[in-house]
Each structure stands twice: as structure tokens, then as C-alpha cells.
């Protein structure tokens, strides 16, 4: 459903992505891994439209993605979370979801919003100010909630699990797994934890210095010493 072809991104002199190819099929769960600064978030920014690539093509279903403005990509079914949660300011948790649903899908369905709140354990927090009155876990949940409210076909999770303590992380992982199994949504997750990737993903793509250096099943990838060296950030000079 998603296909990136030879995508390159440069920030000033820095090549953040070089000729990145990435394919995501219907219902797939893909892990995007790599050391800090490898360009993982930049891949999501290209897909969601926040960053314009300097070269390359991108298709989503039948759409020439790079021609579309950000909001149109959301409408077409691409949803993302932010690594640093970005709740919509001045709004309550529920209003965050209402806005995402109304603009992401074009209609309002309060029942669906209640379902999402319930699924993410945010029901009790629904009327709180989203920017000021939430704990980290709740912020992470709201990121996923905003994305789900747009009724996506492809969900991009940027370190949705990072920073959570062990129990919270386990619960969140199960929740995402359940979401994938129940909806058949295609998901790409950026995540550092090998176990989590192995548990969730059918395939993992490794980025290093803006290049794809592996695209395999998690078992194979995490057995490859070359990949593991880059993955843990060790570099041979």
C-alpha cells in the first residue's frame, strides 16, 4: 500500500536520508530501527508530509503521495504519532479526538470516540486539558488516540513505547498488538527495543546514516553481527 522509491532528504549539507526504499503491504507490521540520528523520524516526516524530500517518489495506494498536502494524506488514511507527544493545545483529550475524527474522516461519531478512549484507558481523563494535565503514559496513549480517530489505513508509530516503565510498556505493546490483530491495519513502528520488535513485527528495516542497510525478518536481522554493530551504535573506524 505504501511504496517509497529512492527517497533522499538533505538538511543543509547533511544527508538525512539517501535513496531510501521502503514498502509496506496491507496489514503488515513493520519495524523501523536504527541508531539515534539514523533518519527514522525523517522517514515518517516524509510520509506524512512534514518534510519534502530532495529526490525520490512515493505512492500510497493509488496516490502520488509527494504531490499531496499534509492534511490530504491524513484524509487518505495515513496517521502518525510524534516521538515527543504533541497533544493539540488548548483542547481537552476528548476534543483532541473530536478534531482528529472530524477532519481525518469527514464525519463525527461520538460512539467511536468513546471506544477509542476506552481502548486506550483515557476515559477518566477525557475532559482534562490534553497539553497540561496528563502523565507521560497518557500522552503516549493520546498520540495513538489522535491517530486512530482519523480511521487510518496506515499507522506510523514513532517510539510510541519509549520512555514507559516496564509494566506500562508491556501493556502498551499488548494493546498495539491487539489493535493490529483486530483491525488488520498496516503499522510501521520506530522502536529501539529488540524484543518488542521481534514480538510485534513480521519485518524490520534497519536505517543507518540515512541508508537502509537491512530489510528482513527480525530474527535474521538481530542475528546479523554487522547490523547489530550499527544498531547498538558501535562503529568500526
Amino acid at each position: 500500500m505504501l511504496q517509497l522509491e529512492d527517497i533522499s532528504v538533505a538538511f543543509g549539507g547533511l544527508a538525512a536520508l539517501s535513496n531510501v526504499n521502503l514498502r509496506v503491504d496491507n496489514g503488515e507490521f513493520v519495524g523501523l530501527v536504527g541508531p539515534n540520528g539514523a533518519g527514522k523520524t525523517t522517514v515518517f516526516n516524509v510520509i506524512s508530509g512534514l518534510v519534502k524530500p530532495t529526490a525520490g517518489n512515493a505512492r500510497f495506494i493509488a496516490m502520488d503521495l509527494l504531490k499531496q498536502p499534509i492534511h490530504a494524506r491524513a484524509r487518505a488514511g495515513i496517521a502518525r504519532t510524534f516521538q515527543i507527544p504533541q497533544p493539540l493545545h488548548e483542547l481537552t483529550v476528548r476534543q483532541n479526538l473530536i478534531v482528529a475524527q472530524k477532519f481525518g474522516t469527514g464525519h463525527s461519531d461520538p460512539k467511536r470516540i468513546d471506544e477509542i478512549l476506552d481502548f486506550l484507558g483515557l476515559t477518566e481523563r477525557a475532559e482534562r486539558n490534553a497539553a497540561n494535565d496528563l502523565a507521560l503514559t497518557e500522552h503516549k496513549a493520546l498520540e495513538v488516540g489522535k491517530a486512530l480517530a482519523t480511521d487510518p489505513k496506515l499507522l506510523l508509530l514513532d517510539e510510541a513505547l519509549a520512555g514507559l516503565e516496564t509494566t506500562g510498556k508491556r501493556q502498551f505493546t499488548q494493546m498495539i498488538k491487539q489493535l493490529h490483530e483486530e483491525t488488520g491495519l498496516a503499522i510501521v513502528i520506530i522502536e529501539h527495543d529488540i524484543e518488542t520488535i521481534s514480538e510485534l513485527c513480521q519485518r524490520a528495516v534497519v536505517l543507518d546514516f540515512g541508508k537502509v542497510i537491512a530489510d528482513e525478518t527480525p530474527e535474521r536481522i538481530f542475528r546479523d553481527p554487522e547490523v547489530m554493530r550499527s544498531y547498538t551504535g558501535e562503529r568500526s573506524a
Binding site: 491524513a74 504533541q86 493539540l88 493545545h89 488548548e90 483542547l91 480517530a149
Partner: protein
């Protein structure tokens, strides 16, 4: 909570019944109130743009002037009835705002300044396009507001009702919009625009819509003014005062509230004209400036929030007093 719902209703009834009953016979005061409401209408439109659209405009005179010219010329040269022409004036101002839309890409002070430049361009156009606008000499004998069901709307009280209705309708629309999902999205765009866009909000389109709406209201107010005073020239219609006074009024009254801009306009304009002008015929505007500064220092959010806080404080004190007595 319930008092909050009753207060606006009481205010509306007072504005429609009490004010004309008490002051209707004092032509001078009535015309001052009409002028204050005219400023108030622009102030509401300006504050709406700032609050929901997140845009500070220094150029609302442009929309006021375009609305006035379009409506005046349609009635004079195309024989349009006054009220449809006033709506067309608003539409003309909204269309004029489309011309300024490249400025929407600019942020903060750059937007404010570029829209100020547009106001000057429109003033020059009104002066130079003599064959259409009659140039610097202006337009005389603009048709007056009509008589409807035997009620002469061009009278002092009649024009009071017309502008009051325009301003209250603008405020009602503003209040409704602010509570709507579009209003929520607009609010969220101020600080978290990217996050708002990625859930599907077409932010540039919404901003453009807000600008057009604000321009429309300002244009209708400009058109009203043209038919009320029956005269127009480029310097008057595009005067910077149509920008400055509403901003002062909105900030003084509380630009973040819906009633603040109107309250601010009534207080500022009436106090200035009835009090300061009498003992300082020249340069009384300077007191306005001082008042505004004092308000910003005392209560940066303006008069309406200040009054609300005071009322709450008094209520609490009274309640506490009751408890203490019991």
C-alpha cells in the same frame, strides 16, 4: 453557571429596549452610541481573527473601506436596494481578503505589516480608479437606510437597531464558531500546527476562511457606515482609525472574550467623546492611550475578564461572610 446564561440575555434586552427608551431622544448621545457600535463591530471581527485565526491584522481599514465603497456604488450606480448592497459590501471585502491571502504564509508581525500595506493599496486604488470610485472627491448622497414596515431605519434609533443587530449577529456567529469543531481546530493550530495538520486539518484553508469571515463582517460594518453618514472618500473610508480604534477597543475590553471588544468599544468611545473631549478638545486621544496602557498593566486580558474576576471575588467574600455569620 446559570447566571452566565442569563447575563447575555439581560444585556441584549437592555440594548434593544432600555437604551433607546432612555436615550432615544438625545440625538447626540445616540449618534455617539452608533459610532461606538460601528467601532465595536470591527473590533469583534478583528478579535475573532486574532483569537480563532491566530492572526493580528493592522489592515482592517481595507475591509471597512472596500465594504463601504462596494455598497455605496451598488446602490448609486446599479440601483441595488441598501440591505442587499450591504451584504455585497461584505462579500466584496471577503473577496478583497483573498487578494491578501499570500500574506497568510507570513507569520506574526510580517502578516500584520503586509496587511497594513494592503490597506494603503486599496486607498490608492479608490483614489486613482476615478471612473468607478469618483476619486479623491468622494461620493456624496449615498442612499440612506430604508424604511421597513413603517419604521424609518435611517433615523437615529433606526440606525442604532441596524448596527446593533449586525454586531450581535457577528458575536453570535463568533460564539458558535468558537464552540464548533472548526473552532477547536483553529485554536489548536496556534501552538501545534503540525500536529493539527497531520490529523487532517487543512490549516491554511481554515485561516483563509477566518480572514474572509472577519473581512466580511468588517465590510458589512463599513457599508452600514456609508449608508448612515451618506458620504465617502478614500481618506475617510480607508483611514487608519478604522484599524486603530477597534484594536484599542478590543484590547481594552478583552480581546479573548466574545463580549470584550464590544464592551471595550462602548466604554472607550463614549468616555472619550463625552468626558475627555469636553475638557481636552485637542489631543484627547492621548488619554485613550494612557487608559489602554493602564488596563494592560492592571489586567492584561482586558476589562471583561477583570469585571468577571471582581464579581467572583465579591461573591466568594459574600458567601464566606454568610458562612461566618452562620
Amino acid at each position: 453557571m446559570r447566571a452566565n446564561g442569563i447575563l447575555p440575555a439581560v444585556a441584549v434586552i437592555a440594548l434593544y429596549l432600555l437604551v433607546p427608551a432612555a436615550l432615544g431622544h438625545v440625538d447626540y448621545v445616540m449618534s455617539l452610541i452608533v459610532a461606538a457600535l460601528t467601532i465595536g463591530g470591527i473590533a469583534v471581527a478583528w478579535a475573532m481573527l486574532g483569537n480563532l485565526g491566530g492572526m493580528v491584522s493592522f489592515g482592517h481599514a481595507a475591509f471597512f473601506g472596500v465594504g463601504a465603497y462596494v455598497s455605496a456604488l451598488l446602490t448609486l450606480d446599479a440601483g441595488w436596494p441598501v440591505f442587499p448592497a450591504m451584504l455585497a459590501g461584505g462579500a466584496g471585502a471577503a473577496i478583497a481578503s483573498v487578494v491578501t491571502m499570500p500574506a497568510l504564509r507570513l507569520r506574526g508581525p510580517y502578516f500584520a505589516l503586509s496587511i497594513l500595506a494592503f490597506a494603503h493599496i486599496f486607498r490608492i486604488l479608490a483614489t486613482e480608479l476615478e471612473s468607478i470610485t469618483r476619486g479623491a472627491g468622494g461620493i456624496l448622497s449615498i442612499p440612506v437606510l430604508p424604511t421597513v414596515a413603517g419604521f424609518d431605519l435611517s433615523s437615529k434609533i433606526g440606525s442604532y437597531y441596524v448596527i446593533l443587530t449586525i454586531v450581535l449577529m457577528a458575536m453570535a456567529g463568533y460564539a458558535w464558531l468558537r464552540r464548533s469543531t472548526v473552532g477547536l481546530a483553529l485554536l489548536a493550530m496556534h501552538d501545534t500546527e503540525d500536529a493539527t495538520k497531520v490529523v487532517g486539518v487543512p490549516s491554511t484553508r481554515l485561516k483563509a476562511m477566518m480572514l474572509a469571515l472577519s473581512a466580511f463582517i468588517t465590510g458589512v460594518v463599513g457599508a452600514f457606515n456609508a449608508h448612515q453618514i451618506n458620504f465617502l472618500d478614500p481618506d475617510y473610508a480607508f483611514s487608519g482609525l478604522w484599524t486603530v480604534l477597534p484594536i484599542v477597543a478590543a484590547i481594552f475590553g478583552g480581546y479573548r472574550t466574545i463580549s470584550g471588544p464590544l464592551v471595550g468599544a462602548l466604554v472607550i468611545y463614549l468616555v472619550d467623546q463625552l468626558v475627555f473631549k469636553s475638557f481636552l478638545p485637542h489631543g484627547h486621544e492621548i488619554i485613550l492611550g494612557a487608559l489602554l496602557v493602564a488596563m494592560i498593566v492592571l489586567s492584561p486580558t482586558g476589562l471583561v475578564p477583570l469585571v468577571r474576576q471582581t464579581v467572583t471575588l465579591v461573591r466568594q467574600t459574600v458567601t464566606r461572610g454568610h458562612h461566618a455569620a452562620a
